[in-house]
Symmetry: C2
Subunit: 506 residues, 2 copies
Amino acid sequence: MFEAAEVGRKLSKSDYKAQVPQLRSELLAVQQELLQAASFPVIVLFAGVDTAGKGETVNLLNEWMDPRWITTRGYTEPSSDERERPRLWRYWRDLPAHGSIAIFLSAWYSSPILDRVARRTTTAVFDSLLDQVAAFERTLTDDGAVIVKFWMHLSKNAQKERLKEFEKDPLQRWRVTKEQWKHWEMFDKFVSAADRAIRRTSTDAAQWHIVEGEDERYRTVAVATELRNAIRRGLERASSGRPERSPAVERKAAADGPVKAIRRVEREFNVLDNLDLSQKVSNDAFEKQLAEQHSRLNLLQRRAAKRGVSTILVFEGWDAAGKGGAIRRVTGSFDARDYQVIPIAAPTDEERAHHYLWRFWRHLSRAGRLTIFDRSWYGRVLVERVERFATEAEYVRGYGEINHFEEQLVNHGILLVKFWIHISKAEQLRRFKDRSGTSYKQWKITDDDWRNRKRWEDYTVAVNDMVERTSTKIAPWTLVEGNDKNFARIRVLRTLAERLDDRLKK
Amino acid sequence: MFEAAEVGRKLSKSDYKAQVPQLRSELLAVQQELLQAASFPVIVLFAGVDTAGKGETVNLLNEWMDPRWITTRGYTEPSSDERERPRLWRYWRDLPAHGSIAIFLSAWYSSPILDRVARRTTTAVFDSLLDQVAAFERTLTDDGAVIVKFWMHLSKNAQKERLKEFEKDPLQRWRVTKEQWKHWEMFDKFVSAADRAIRRTSTDAAQWHIVEGEDERYRTVAVATELRNAIRRGLERASSGRPERSPAVERKAAADGPVKAIRRVEREFNVLDNLDLSQKVSNDAFEKQLAEQHSRLNLLQRRAAKRGVSTILVFEGWDAAGKGGAIRRVTGSFDARDYQVIPIAAPTDEERAHHYLWRFWRHLSRAGRLTIFDRSWYGRVLVERVERFATEAEYVRGYGEINHFEEQLVNHGILLVKFWIHISKAEQLRRFKDRSGTSYKQWKITDDDWRNRKRWEDYTVAVNDMVERTSTKIAPWTLVEGNDKNFARIRVLRTLAERLDDRLKK
């Protein structure tokens, strides 16, 4: 793969001088257009062989463009705050907003490759880490992000010469550490891991560009030209409307199209209708069981906090299904320092300027705490689907994105418990009327609630699809029969206690 | 001071039962009103003697109110991310947005008091930390925040009995650690430090309420009632218009009123007019000096990064004064991983929902990096003053708030360098016309720029006042003669190099 980047490409001084002024002004111009349009972010990733010019090229891009709209990030060992979250958390935090450019150095490729080179991981683990990286990038490009990845290459001999040169230069000597020579000795292993990484993560939407790093002029112009082109392509696509969709999704969406008969059947036979809504718990039994579950959960959470096991709870359900009441019974079990409730309403403008999952990533807590989402990332496949805020391609893609997100949480050791609280249509009407009639409850009922009620059938299909596609072994849905509030609350508490108990046995 | 909280206040069960339902529904109601108004945040702070019921009361408040709009934060040892920023950074991060409630446990009082109890600090240091805390709270209340502080007290004997009780109870035993008994032995020292802390930080706008913690029913009702009253007072104040101002500021503002003659003189004699704008650097000299300063700065920054010394640069100046160009010459000296440029434009809605300094706190970098603000917190006393977005009381207060903010940065070891780039009114006109006439520069000139130009005199007065009040020994302003771009850029680079060199000698 790298042979083509060891052929000694060079750009003469005169060619360079002739090309650069125009290239610089074009880069500035596309950056301005990007900023004005503010409709997608640009992510530039540099990886490659040491001394192949990553740092120098990045500095030059910052000089040629307006550094106010560029963030450049290199990463060292994760801080304690970072170690307490899933691996990709620190990169999500640093993702640029629409209209901005972020330049990442090695970043999410660094530890997978270096761990493999040092044989700290098997090929199988390496592959799965690379697949996660590819899925991460796919999530971003599907949303319109432009990702440009440069692999800066040098041959083994060229690198050796470069290192020796640096050692002779008093201004560059500091750059050559023992580490660097150790890396050089592992050159072949490094290149073979890189080869695998590049092959496995070169997707149509986030291609790698292998750049021969020996000649400074050549590599600079090569990178700058490709970056200019990529931003231009992004701008053209954005101005022509929707973000590009992956062909696979297009096929899926097309196939989904004609099956209206199937939809009708789904509307009639769905997971929600199988629930027995007549189940009840008497007030006396409720008080007794509530106290039992509270002390059980309190003990479990203390053990979880000690072990650094975090829990994320997701509450979804019909309007007036009793999410708020159930959440209050859950929080009642715990010390207020140990949990945080995140109500999900309309996104803020900072959230709107990022991928829809960004706002959930930013709320991931430190180790050992509970985070309770009152509504969640499932909005993508529920309200956004039903209200057509998301296109079919977007919400269909959403299932995979959500599963991938949840997999990262669970792989990091987080317990994820998801509840859909179900009530009958008649029960909802009864509760709406009750709320309208009670002065201190009126704030709880809005026009939106009545409007959503009219879409009951559409929501039923959406909920059914959601459960079908996102109730995974690692993150199953618990469907809660909610007509009787006592029953629902005990069911929630008991489920949480059982799942937490199971998790702590691991 | 605590005698009044050792008298054995009790609330009978029947009184409690009679009062609580109404209190709960009133608390919920004021919380709802707060959320609807969304015009100020509520900060509730609990501190006090161990086992006096802090945790229990906080849990109950979370149960009585809607936990979705409450954040509760306890703090342990700072993480590495937190240690790399000034002491109050982690609390600024956790401040509630307008309309929300945050409950803090001990928080910013914890380490000052415990360090004093353990004699790790002198009285003088303790006092200065308390003054910093009082200034922090004043900054928030001046902006409309409601701060309610509860000191939960128990007598020494009552605490001993409480600890013994807990030790007997299998469900509570975990709470009594050796640490707790060690604290108990230092009870008198603790109480005397607390006494000092309470006296020194009880301000009109952020009073302490000492609550006797022995009887659970009494302390609960006492806290809940005071919290309800405080939120109500905040709502009344908010609905009557402007946030409450401190009497000192009112007096200052009143005194400032009539001195129009003085203002006229200030307009005529000001720091900017003393600058010699005819100074020039030829292109040849510029190239030579630029290269010199670049390599000097690059070396200095490498040493700074190694030592974890961060630098914050502030660029202010007239429109078209050349801030952007100067910033690019600065960034050109450094590795792109080491700096971040923060352009300050209109605040996002999340920023608008917090104190105006919050958006700057959130950008403080990890140790050893450069943060370059293209415009800054000085907007408060420049554009906000001139355009009357801030009242006179607000911008006058701003000088003190800014000095206090910068003091925290510098005390943390950060190097702060502030530039005002000055050009003459004629030079600005020349540059505006040049920009309008050059197609790829047109985006740089807006209607705002022409509007600001009409306010030249007002800005001159504002800049003069700003320099007079915020050019402190620890954070002086550098006024840069900007008519000649070469001269200005070299002056900026040289000043930065000298300041950084000085800082590294410490």
